[in-house]
């Protein structure tokens, strides 16, 4: 079975960890989740009048 050929074993082990840790993981780190949208709590607007400082 060619999978048991020890010749490329070290190379395959090394490259699999290198691609996994140096290529895939940084790519996945760039995925930033957005906060889910929610409605603002209903606020009654303040209706206290203020006097305009008409000069």
């Amino acid at each position: 079975m060619p999978q048991l050929n020890p010749n490329p074993w070290f190379f395959i082990m090394l490259t699999s960890w290198l691609t996994f840790s140096l290529i895939i993981q940084p790519k996945l780190l760039t995925f930033i989740t957005m906060n889910p949208p929610y409605n603002k709590p209903p606020m009654t607007p303040k209706t206290t009048p203020w006097s305009w400082p008409w000069t």
């Binding site: 079975m1 060619p2 999978q3 048991l4 050929n5 490329p8 074993w9 070290f10 190379f11 395959i12 082990m13 490259t15 699999s16 960890w17 691609t19 996994f20 290529i23 895939i24 993981q25 790519k27 996945l28 780190l29 760039t30 995925f31 930033i32 989740t33 957005m34």
Partner: protein, 230 residues
Amino acid sequence: MLTMNLSFFDQFSSPSLLGIPLILISMTFPALLLPSPGNRWITSRLSTLQLWFINLVTKQLMMPLHKKGHKWALILTSLMIFLLLINLLGLLPYTFTPTTQLSMNLALAFPLWLATLLTGLRNQPSASLAHLLPEGTPTPLIPALIMIETTSLLIRPLALGVRLTANLTAGHLLIQLISTATMALFSTMPVVSLLTLLVLLLLTILEVAVAMIQAYVFVLLLSLYLQENI
């Protein structure tokens, strides 16, 4: 005739062209299928789908773990995505699947399993050792059971690697065998050849499922080993 049978395994030898190992391409190609999202609030459809999928996988894997285990989120999720893409890409014609190589699967399984084991032994040594004896065993059985549990513990990385290798190798081998049979029967018995083609289609659907399930099982078992030890 004997040489024809043995040549079915040739698809699993690590390909190289003029001395350059081509497994590099097979392993780095999946990264090209994951576009990094830009700075926009609403990204493209593919990015949104990927993000949804990554969130789904991360939530699923991290739910049974408490806060300290959540630092494993990146490595487990990226391992899942990596294995999933490699397995699925290998089902295309003329592609090479790196996960059929025992070297790659053992290289991924062994250090990660060892990391979970050492985390457990370092942070909670008596609790980790207590896993070697199930609760409520009768006293005379204790020595035998501890030896059995230790063996099953030490065989976990081998099982993890060989499970993935064997499943994918067997699948690819079956696909090659049945497609060879379909082509060989086509000239003499076309109806049988069509039935074999139907079997091949069903097998391909099965292999797609197996590719996804095996990637998930690999990562799930690692997270289970982590749960015991963190």
